[in-house]
Amino acid sequence: MESRKYIGRSARSKEAPRYVTGRGRYVDDLALPRMLHACILRSPYAHARIVAVDGRRAEALPGVKAVVTPEAVKRLSRPFKPGRYAAGLRVPIPEYAGAIDKVRYVGEPVAIVAAETRAGAEDALELIDVEYDPLPSVVSTEEAALPSAPVLYEELGGNVAWEGHVAYGDPDAAFARADRIVRQHLTMHRYSSTPLEPFACLAEAAPERLTIWCNSQSPDVIYEALSEALGIDAVRVIVPDVGGGFGQKIHLIRKYAVLTALLAVEAGRPVKWIEDRSEHMTAGGHSCEQEFDVEAAVTAEGEVLGLKIRDTDDVGGSVSTLTIHFTNKLNNLFNTYKVQHLRLDGRSVLTNKCPVVPNRGIGKPGMCFVWERTMDLVARELGLDAIEVRRSNLVRKEQFPYTTPNGNIHGSGDYEALLDRVLVNVEYAEVRRRQAERRGGSTLLGIGVVIGVEPGGRNAARDMAIFPQSAQMPGSGGVEGATVKIEKNGSVVFTLGSPSCGQSHETTAAQIVADVLGVALERVSAAGTFDSVSSPWGISSSNSGNNFHLYDVGAVHGAATRLRDKVLTLAASVLRADPSLLRIEDGVVIPRGTGPRGPVESVTFAELGKIAYTNQALLPPGFEPGLQATYYHSHPHADPLMLPDMQGRVRAQYTFSSAAHAAVVEVDVETGRVRVVRYVIVSDNGTLINPAVVDGQIYGSAAHGISVALGEGFVYGADGQLLTLTLLDYGKSTTLETPRIEVEHCPVPDPFTTLGQKAAGEGAAIPSPAAIASAVEDALAPFGVEVRELPLSPERVWELIRARA
């Protein structure tokens, strides 16, 4: 086993020095000779037939080099194959990169122009003549599901594009023996993670291959999209520094990669396209608005016997991500609870709004919201304490490794300890005392305590449990690679198979490499960012699904271990020693037993590097020259339940971090304004490789969930026009509204992962909306207010109070 000199320490960031000096390299920072700039003409209508698009006046403008209209998109490209994101689509619907004969949301791309300058391309857009035949639009799922509603895709005969369900245990029997059934209708609104850097693509169609620089989180999606749409096999995807992802840059971005590439092919010159903020807000993808009809079967003591949920997902104006917010609920279907019976019915309804995309948790914040709102409701209806209701339903410490009824295996944890600890840290009794003091005043205090899991490490076969009839198997388990190399001069470089979007992957991976190889951290660096021709990648090579800790850590650890063996073999031969008697310290191989003083026969990495690359005569027989190792990692404990069994049980993800959150809020009864006074988290992320990095992930995702609960979100007019086009209108929290989040770690190592690590990324975005909802409801308890909808903007809170006062 490796030493732990760096693993577990908040080692200084490797990436940060280049970012603080402005030397990050994002797509928009790159320029190629003869590069053109692209701009997109987008639909002003929420729903319209495209009658004609004429680009001739734009083409005639000096400096304009290519105009791609719907006719050209259809002629020059092919529709995407419906992938796993669209699983469940009942009739195939060809989806091209741009609109073809209809637009279904405001901002849908209609035409794209390449010109010598960005300003020139913008000017050209005004000269494209589009004739639309506007159609009635529909923006609510309720209306969209009516037989009389305007239909987005005629092929489907209606807007309810998918219906299905999963059931585990025997929910009907659980409901039959319940003392009580509690019910509520819950709503989570549309929001996004608004990465600060919008979408960006730079494409170059060279004779040997098509290269695209793209800020994609999942280069695999871009790779497939370009091959499918353009029929090109020789594709190279490069992902330089990425200015935030959060799920936003996984899927929809492929449209723009294809359109940019198409222009590059047409113009015969490199083309850069940079999305602007309002384009991103309107058409860059939103999280799904989700509605839940929830029924819980409970005993008089507050034990939850079963849950029935009807989930309606507003998927907007595209079928390409039809079921992602449903399928992702399999990942935390039972949250932290030992409940055995559950039925989840899902419906995906099309509306004339922006398509939906993955987004810090995709569906999981909704699932957690359902559970945690239910626990509060059960407590209220039975006159019990909400924390005790949770406690009595938790999976107990001695049940780990715990298999949930749908097949997820929670490797380790102690949920009750998290709950206890968060109560101590938030000073629960003291908050209750202060709350009582303030009763009757104009600012009321409330506390919400919730718990949730953060699943990590995706199993590609998950969706087979829901769509067993799928024609194509989506893959299974996971594969990710890494390469580690000792250079001729003894320094160490590594290449990961996946891109990073700011999660300090270089730092974290370097710590592992340094410890496994026994070399100073300063000597280790990443060779570069993702490049599909040189990065060892597989299905898990994605900055999504919380994959890094399971797959990248496993891969880089495996590659470094392989390289260490190689180093020891070569050193043993050079030193004429038994390899098992060698140790490595600070990049020097030393025979065990020899002390720091006295004559030691040792050999440095630099000496070994020189031999390995230049001196064949000194290589032991059978030794492959060079000092480099590549390792592809799959989770060694991916079974059981990597593939679904007869009951539809399947591992959705492989690791389960968990956390308890306590929010203390102050609600101004006159204005409805909510201020978060304290936000306390106790988190189990397994073995921490770099605690400060993990803290950062927790702070960021919690802040996002809090902002979402307090009012950030998209608002549409009845005509399908987006009213929140800017970050200000959208209501993103700033330093003024974001509380000082407090985190304590109570890690329980995972028994099945390389270092005992579990996921750390989007986790705190999952329970935080529920925590704020609980706290606001608690504050407003004197009014008997029930919180069933997000966001809790001042207007909504004020209305809730007014309705009861």
């Binding site: 970012y19 000096t21 850097e197």
Partner: protein
């Protein structure tokens, strides 16, 4: 029609022809290659484009290049000297105050300006002053701590350099 402008950026003088509509941020990024200044919104809401113009903090997407004619501009590239990080930069690095780094140049400039005006800011002042810079990754916790750290580093640094 173009206009000719002359300005100093990070101590170097540039004379360029610009279109009247060219924003300062685009001039910096595209005409003189200073890509450290970022564009997150181009309407003055995110602060990613923050630079100093004649010592004052300015959002470079809200200023035309022609308006910067005759001005002295400092960008994130102009803060470190001979490879050594400026104390503000070092404090942000050491405090894990960034993740994707896209907002970071703007924060570096905003913190620099804040500490020049208020060398000993309270947490409230920090939150107030930085509220026009958005970060989507960090939740601000480590940024605010790093600003406090930068304040004390800056004091000894200033003592050292006078």
């Amino acid at each position: 029609m173009t206009h000719s402008i002359r300005l100093t950026v990070n101590g170097e003088t540039y004379e360029r022809e610009v279109e009247a509509r060219t924003l300062l941020v685009h001039f910096l990024r595209e005409q003189i290659g200073l890509t450290g200044t970022h564009v997150g919104c181009v309407v003055g809401e995110c602060g990613a484009c923050s630079v100093l113009v004649n010592g004052a903090l300015v959002k470079a997407c809200l200023m035309l290049a022609v308006q910067a004619d005759g001005c002295e501009v400092t960008t994130v590239e102009g803060l470190s000297t001979r490879g050594a990080l400026h104390p503000v930069q070092q404090a942000l690095v050491d405090g894990f105050a960034l993740q994707c780094g896209f907002c970071t140049p703007g924060f570096v400039m905003a913190v620099h300006a804040l500490l020049a005006r208020t060398p000993d800011p309270t947490e409230e002042q920090i939150r107030e002053e930085l509220s026009s810079n958005l970060c989507m990754c960090t939740g601000y916790v480590q940024i605010i701590e790093a600003v406090k750290d930068a304040a004390s580093r800056l004091k000894s640094w200033n003592r050292g350099s006078t």
